[in-house]
């Protein structure tokens, strides 16, 4: 337990240092933050514009899609801010920085995730929260639904965290595959912004059993909206986000340990 506390404390110590460093240039910090909000906002405007021609997409209204968008984006952006730096593993290996990290008494994963912590990503989280807030009235809120929402958001952050780490770890084998990791992290979030009904059954199955991103927003949002899965998945899937997150944590731990053991460092 003390180990975990030290790891978390170290994470924030390193992150704080980068926040302080960024705050040394306040103008740059704020323009980057606002820029981040604008870019992600345009992202949603695209969906909104689409709805000026149609009333529903895949059987979902604009607000319902905004709900899916909000839940996946909040989870993804929080994970991105907290652990997104991990995708730079390949670069750290090449420059030898990973060796330096490995000779310090803090877990390497903690150091990788906290490295160059970017507080300005709060802007993107704010955009995701705003879209969610706009969508929220479409749900008839009950205590159970609120509980499922909280569960989904926490599990969602964990699921995206695992996706970031697992696909970045592949760089221990390939060194230069950060683009490959991006396809699953950023790409995954983009797919999850749409209702699954617009995709073929095989895609939805893969996103349930192989890379369980549907547990971030699709199944829990079905419950929030009082719907059953159009593909006929069991109803309890709508509460199963924590299970999916736990399973993914297990896989990620294995992959990470294996990657670190296989690490071969650079020459000299």
């Amino acid at each position: 337990m003390a180990e975990v506390a030290h790891a978390v404390r170290s994470y924030w110590l390193i992150a704080l240092l980068w926040i302080r460093a960024a705050m040394a240039y306040p103008l740059s910090f704020w323009t980057m933050t606002v820029g981040g909000v604008l870019i992600t906002f345009l992202d949603f405007v695209a969906i909104w514009l689409m709805f000026s021609h149609i009333d529903s997409y895949g059987g979902f209204t604009l607000r319902e899609i905004a709900l899916l968008y909000g839940v996946t984006s909040i989870a993804f952006r929080v994970a991105d801010m907290l652990v997104g730096s991990v995708e730079k593993i390949g670069q750290k290996v090449r420059t030898g920085e990973l060796d330096a990290m490995m000779s310090k008494p803090v877990p390497v994963l903690v150091q990788l995730c906290a490295d160059r912590f970017e507080l300005r990503r709060l802007g993107q989280i704010a955009q995701a929260v705003a879209v969610f807030a706009w969508a929220a009235p479409t749900v008839e809120w009950t205590p159970q639904r609120l509980a499922v929402l909280v569960m989904a958001l926490v599990s969602g952050v964990v699921i995206y965290f695992c996706v970031f780490v697992t696909f970045s770890t592949i760089q221990f084998w390939t060194l230069d595959a950060s683009e490959f990791a991006n396809a699953f992290t950023y790409g995954g979030n983009t797919i999850m912004q749409y209702p699954m009904t617009i995709f073929p059954r095989e895609v939805v199955r893969s996103l349930t059993y192989l890379l369980p991103l549907t547990f971030v927003n699709w199944y829990p949002c079905l419950f929030l909206l009082g719907l059953h899965d159009p593909f006929g998945a069991p109803d309890w899937f709508r509460f199963a986000s924590p299970l999916a997150a736990l399973a993914l944590v297990g896989v990620t731990t294995l992959v990470w340990r294996q990657g670190l053991r296989r690490y071969r460092s650079t020459g000299s």
């Binding site: 030290h6 240092l17 460093a21 000779s103 310090k104 008494p105 690490y263 460092s265 020459g267 000299s268």
Partner: protein, 315 residues
């Protein structure tokens, strides 16, 4: 029990090579092979060898960065690859070719961060900071971002950082690479004082044999991943076919001196260079020369350590 114990340590790397359009063949390269040695607390050991001999690979296995493929290593009673983080609190590592400081942050911030992640007590931290910052002449550089430091300054910063938590062992991988003569001299002085006053065990890899001569009581020479010599510096000199040189200045020019046990290397006017085995005594030789010739001056040159090591490698 020794502080560092290495027994039959091996590490191999699989290198994949392209063979044809799609086929790949893999070659197994032995970077370190059945390496064994022990280092006691307080020793200063030079770890030398040609490029690719396995020096850095050894250091990385001793710090737990690389997992050995065979044999065992114990450092301060710990198994490096399994207890890497625990070991990290007890050792310091300085890689000469790169920094373990945070590139964009001032030294002061890096030191503060290390203080917290190593959980260094206030007294220890301030004592080390005061001592090392003064001795390494870092006082004026504390607020400069690491990326703006010169190589020598950065190296001093790295060494101060590696010593903040009072490590029992300090590994230095090429600590003087790229430094000018004055910086090298000061760094050596600092390291010697560290070893004498605090008893810190030093293990350094280097290409600069003057580092070894200035610092190390003991040398381990590694080639092709195996130790080819382990012992004190003087016996490294006596080892092998090393020879000493007697330089004789005669009063007048003469034909090459003919004396048993020595061989004339070169004649240049009245000066002649005679080679004789490093193990032999110079006294009888000098006596014979003085008896037969009018000698103006004499001097004896010790074998160049680089030559000795070159001979070791070429075996």
């Amino acid at each position: 029990m020794s502080l560092i114990e290495v027994r039959d340590l091996s590490r191999e790397f699989t290198i994949r090579k392209r063979a044809g359009r799609l086929r790949r063949t893999s070659v197994v390269k032995q970077a370190v092979h059945d390496l064994s040695f022990e280092i006691d607390a307080g020793e200063m050991v030079g770890y030398i060898g040609p490029n690719g001999a396995g020096k850095s690979t050894t250091i990385k296995m001793l710090t737990g960065i690389l997992v050995p493929s065979g044999g065992s290593a114990r450092v301060a009673g710990l198994e490096p690859s399994r207890q890497r983080r625990e070991l990290a609190r007890r050792i310091g590592v300085v890689f000469g070719q790169r920094t373990s400081l945070w590139w964009d942050l001032p030294l002061r911030d890096s030191f503060e961060l290390l203080r917290r992640i190593y959980r260094i007590g206030d007294r220890t931290y301030h004592r080390n900071l005061d001592d090392h910052v003064a001795l390494l002449d870092l006082g004026d550089l504390m607020d400069t971002p690491v990326r703006q430091l010169s190589l020598g300054q950065r190296m001093r910063g790295d060494i101060a950082a590696a010593l903040l938590h009072d490590p029992e062992i300090l590994y230095l991988d090429e600590p003087t690479i790229g430094l000018d003569v004055i910086s090298k001299g000061r760094l050596r002085e600092f390291l010697r004082a560290l070893n004498h006053e605090r008893g810190t065990t030093l293990m350094l890899t280097t290409h600069d044999l003057q580092d070894i001569e200035a610092l190390c009581d003991r040398v381990i020479v590694i080639d092709h991943g195996t130790a080819v010599f382990d012992g004190p510096l003087p016996s490294l000199r006596a080892n092998g076919d090393a020879s000493r040189t007697l330089v004789v200045d005669l009063v007048d020019e003469a034909s090459p001196i003919a004396i048993e046990g020595a061989r004339v290397l070169k004649v240049e006017g009245p000066r002649q260079w005679l080679s004789f085995p490093a193990g032999a005594s110079a006294a009888p030789l000098v006596a014979q020369v003085a008896a037969a010739y009018d000698v103006a001056d004499l001097s004896i040159h010790e074998p160049d350590i680089e030559d000795v090591i070159r001979q070791l490698y070429s075996r």
